[in-house]
């Protein structure tokens, strides 16, 4: 399992760079992750990230685009606006969670 250094800390990541340990994340680190992929975070961005983290804690897996809309209340269109082109992956990365497995 690779380890990479971000924000001065060593974190465990998979081969692509997604964090693998839930507890190694912090909001500070989230900012670094967002900067790494060129996403400028606003309060709305953070609302989604916080939803993803708490949902992951409850469900044990990362919410898909659809779940973020139906359960989280963030319309798909908005997700694409806040995290252009690959919202599901970008949101998961910034939230320190694995990529969603579900298809929808």
């Amino acid at each position: 399992m690779p380890v990479t250094t971000l924000n001065g800390h060593d974190v465990h990541v998979d081969d692509e760079g997604f964090l693998t340990e839930y507890d190694e994340w912090s909001e500070d680190l989230g900012n670094v992750l967002a900067a790494n992929i060129g996403v400028e975070m606003t309060e709305r961005h953070w609302e989604i990230i916080r939803f993803l983290r708490s949902d992951f804690k409850e469900q044990g897996e990362t919410a898909t685009t659809r779940r973020v809309q139906t359960v989280g209340g963030f319309p798909t269109k908005e997700q694409f606006e806040l995290f252009p082109k690959k919202p599901a992956k970008k949101m998961a990365y910034i939230a320190g969670l694995p990529k969603p497995h579900g298809c929808v």
Partner: protein, 177 residues
Amino acid sequence: MTTDVAAAIVPKFDDDTETDRKLAIICSKGNLDMAYPGLILANAALGEGVEVHLFFTFWGFDMILKSRMNHLKFSPVGNTAMHLPVTDSRVAAALAPMPGMTAVATKMMMKQIADLGVPEVPDFLEQISASGGHLWACRMSADMMKVDETDLYEGVEAIINASDFIEMTAGAQLLFI
């Protein structure tokens, strides 16, 4: 002694590169089971930043007809692959056309799909549109069935003919369902 600082491992989201990938999916089937492959792949492609065009033709037109899109059906007639829940057996071919079988099979399929959290066709089309997918209706099918824009789901951008479709999908990867 030098300290090597390894570059941080960051996923490549390729915002600047993969911008020209285009996928066109032709949906030509109107049965419930065959509506999904196109929708699932379109949704997945959109989530990867691919430009997606869905072209509904022939029976696939039912997927975008307001009068039918909520009532797509599935029948095991001619389809020996249907899995029955108990013992994972098949439906005997002779039983498939019996009255009521289509309704039962449709209901089963819809439940299995819903249990996976996958939306019904209209909601799915809405998600695809919201994600930036383009929906197109086939001119010839519209003429055959004698329908126009008013009969179609609002998310459909236009009724276009085969040449328009060929032009718009230049350089695109094509999928026929």
